[in-house]
């Protein structure tokens, strides 16, 4: 991040955001006191395990939290608070200034309309543009995201496209109105590895060409550190560490980040992946540090809320360890914290 960029108004600024889901009378905190800023043109990665609140953050940024969600704190787009916006202004924002690539793009296109008409519809929701011109623009967009023979495929329904191609259509829809902010919610999770790489390349190219800021949500810290300028690590609804991507990778200040890094397989693995011992479970309901039960560096003080300590080379870490001393040893401590376990299948938590 250059100094010139950071001095400008952030495209997105999230301040002390807390979201609770109320189901059957019980409240579950999905996000607690999250504070983030995204400068124009910046790539910010948000990582965390399944269920840590990543999609909730994306929904909140679009003002699209479900009816059973209770939120506090503020979200601003270009300095303008979402909470004060009229529904018309909010609609202008969605799909206009803020594009979303949904978490499940394969299921997110309407099966009863052609892919082309779904792009046209997005264009016409935000621009005064004739049907014919919108169609030409949509074909152009399909070409840009790498669909072969776009004019011919314009009229085909989503089910005529493969997963990777549907993902590209979702991307075309998200960037159709050249948004200033693109929210990509695990844009490659549903795809196989080779297609993942292609889609990521496409995303970075589009973002650079159009100077879009990107909120890149992923559960893969490795991908995020390669792609993004900065990384925010979420654990059970709380930020555990935010900092420059490269530096977070090389010098993690939070034991959870270290453990995540250690769980990235080095080279080829044969059916076994290292993973972090323990589970998130109901960590969001813990009073002190939410990672403490799984932490290899646990101290008595961890039962109380850890402060946000400044990291050496920028950013913050929510950890008593980081608050007391420079965590130079953490990078090495990582592999100790992680143990080898069988790959767990079906570990994803479903959202009701």
């Amino acid at each position: 991040m250059s100094a010139a960029q950071t001095s400008r108004t952030p495209v997105l600024s999230v301040e002390d955001l807390s979201v609770e889901y109320v189901t059957a009378g019980a409240a579950y905190p999905a996000l607690s006191g999250v504070t983030l800023e995204l400068a124009p043109g910046e790539f910010l990665g948000v990582v965390g395990e399944s269920g840590c609140g990543k999609s909730t953050l994306a929904a909140a940024a679009l003002g699209l939290l479900p009816a059973n969600a209770d939120s506090r704190g503020s979200i601003r787009f270009d300095g303008e608070p979402l909470a004060g916006m009229s529904s018309t202004r909010l609609r202008e924002l969605r799909g206009g200034d803020v594009g979303l690539i949904p978490q499940d793009p394969l299921a997110s296109l309407d099966p009863t309309f052609s892919v082309g008409s779904q792009i046209v519809e997005t264009l016409r929701a935000h621009q005064r543009i004739a049907r014919r011109a919108a169609k030409a623009r949509a074909v152009e967009l399909m070409d840009t995201v790498g669909i072969d023979r776009p004019a011919e495929r314009f009229g085909q329904p989503p089910r005529a496209f493969s997963g990777g191609m549907r993902q590209r259509i979702a991307i075309a829809i998200a960037v159709a109105n050249t948004p200033r902010l693109l929210i990509a919610d695990e844009p490659t999770t549903a795809l196989d590895v080779t297609v993942q790489a292609q889609v990521l390349r496409l995303l970075t190219r589009l973002a650079k060409d159009r100077n879009m800021a990107v909120l890149f949500i992923s559960h893969d810290l490795h991908v995020v550190t390669q792609l993004c300028d900065r990384v925010a690590v979420l654990y059970a609804g709380k930020l555990s560490e935010v900092g420059p991507a490269r530096d977070v990778m090389d010098h993690p200040a939070h034991p959870y980040t270290a453990a995540l890094l250690a769980s990235i397989p080095q080279g080829r693995t044969t059916g076994r992946l290292p993973s972090i011992p323990g589970e998130i479970g109901q960590a969001a309901l813990l009073p002190g540090c939410r990672f403490a039960p799984r932490c290899a560096h646990r101290m008595p003080v961890c039962d109380t809320e850890p402060p946000l300590a400044a990291r050496d080379r920028g950013g913050v870490a929510a950890c008593w360890l980081a608050a007391s001393s420079a965590p130079a040893t953490l990078a090495e401590a990582g592999p100790v914290a992680a143990s080898r376990r069988d790959v767990q299948s079906g570990g994803r938590k479903d959202v009701p």
């Binding site: 699209l64 997110s108 296109l109 309407d110 009863t112």
Partner: protein, 348 residues
């Protein structure tokens, strides 16, 4: 996966539309899958109609009793009956009679009403419009009320939704003949605001014509409205809570666009299917409703004809009703295929 469905057997899976000959045929098939489907469905309908005539004929002729006994009354002598039967051609073998009937049908001749000595086609021409009008108006009421209430219930959760669904549950559990009797009793008998019996031709008095149809149309249409309310509400509500709907909101579409364009499109195929199939049920229901409200439709015609063993009339009426039903189902299938191309895949 979906593309392989349209590929004729024996072609390599990667055959692209650009190739010569087979390629061009394939391109045509790809470009007009609905037309292709419609043509196939029409071809299938022909044998269905043929088999149907046989069933109608057998059904009518295998039931004991014949029109001669009715015609000549209880005091007719054996010889008298035999002579009349001979004269009317009823003594000949069944298959001869069937062939004769079919030959007539092909030439547009539905036979003659033996009792009234009028062409059956003319009787049908007199009675069919009443029944069709009743069924179509009932269907129209059912669709308008049902789809609107369904959309309303799905888009406005809370008290309104619960009330609408409660009403439609009640509507679903009331048999239409009972509803017909109740409507006739309350509005025709107690309140005396609407006629509960009789018929006035449109040409005689348009206002009275429709006033006489209100109660029978309601009796017949409210059940369908209740059913369509439930179906529409279910599909639209499921759609509004699905990833496609979330994505549409994230694209910045208005509530109206999501509700009326996208979720209604989702519901349209099932709705059209129900309308199509219900039209058959409505034609059947019209028979009873016509009897309750004294309307001179096909129902009235066929009920009398059955009692009198009036073969040709019963045959003609059943044939016309079933043909309308088969053609409606055909039309429904084609419209559904046009609305939702997914329907093509399971059936071709």
């Amino acid at each position: 996966m979906s593309e392989s469905v349209e590929l004729p057997a024996g072609l390599p899976a990667d055959a692209s539309p650009g190739r010569p000959q087979t390629g061009r045929r394939l391109a045509w098939r790809r470009r007009h899958p609905v037309l292709l489907f419609a043509m196939r469905r029409c071809l299938v309908t022909i044998p269905i109609l043929a088999v149907m005539t046989l069933f109608v004929f057998m059904l009518v002729h295998l039931v004991p009793g014949d029109p001669v006994t009715t015609m000549l009354g209880p005091h007719a002598t054996e010889e008298n009956i035999a002579a009349t039967r001979l004269q009317m051609g009823l003594d000949r073998p069944l298959h001869t009679q069937y062939v004769e009937w079919i030959t007539g049908l092909v030439h547009g001749d539905l036979g003659t009403d033996l009792l009234r000595n009028t062409p059956v086609s003319q009787l049908l021409m007199n009675h069919l419009p009443v029944t069709l009008e009743l069924a179509i108006l009932a269907s129209l009421i059912g669709v308008t009320v049902g789809v609107s209430l369904g959309l309303l219930a799905a888009s406005r959760p809370g008290l309104l939704r619960r009330m609408t669904l409660g009403l439609s549950t009640i509507g679903l559990s009331i048999p239409y003949f009972w509803l017909g009797l109740m409507l006739a009793l309350v509005f025709g008998g107690l309140l005396q605001v609407l006629p509960s019996s009789g018929y006035v031709a449109f040409t005689d008095d348009p206002v009275e014509h429709f006033r006489h149809l209100i109660l029978p149309v309601l009796a017949l249409g409210l059940g369908q409205a209740a059913y369509l309310t439930k179906v529409t509400q279910g599909i639209v509500e499921a759609f509004l809570n699905s990833p496609p709907s979330d994505f549409l909101r994230a694209k910045g579409l208005t509530r109206g666009q999501i509700l009326f364009k996208h979720s209604l499109r989702q519901a349209s195929a099932p709705i059209v299917t129900i309308i199509g199939i219900d039209l058959g049920t409505l034609l059947g229901g019209a028979i009873i409703t016509e009897t309750i409200f004294g309307l001179p439709g096909l129902g009235n015609l066929v009920v009398t004809a059955i009692a009198q063993r009036n073969y040709t009339v019963v045959q003609g009426t059943i044939l016309v009703i079933s043909t309308i039903f088969v053609l409606t189902v055909l039309l429904t299938d084609i419209i559904v295929a046009r609305l939702d191309p997914r329907a093509l895949e399971g059936r071709s």
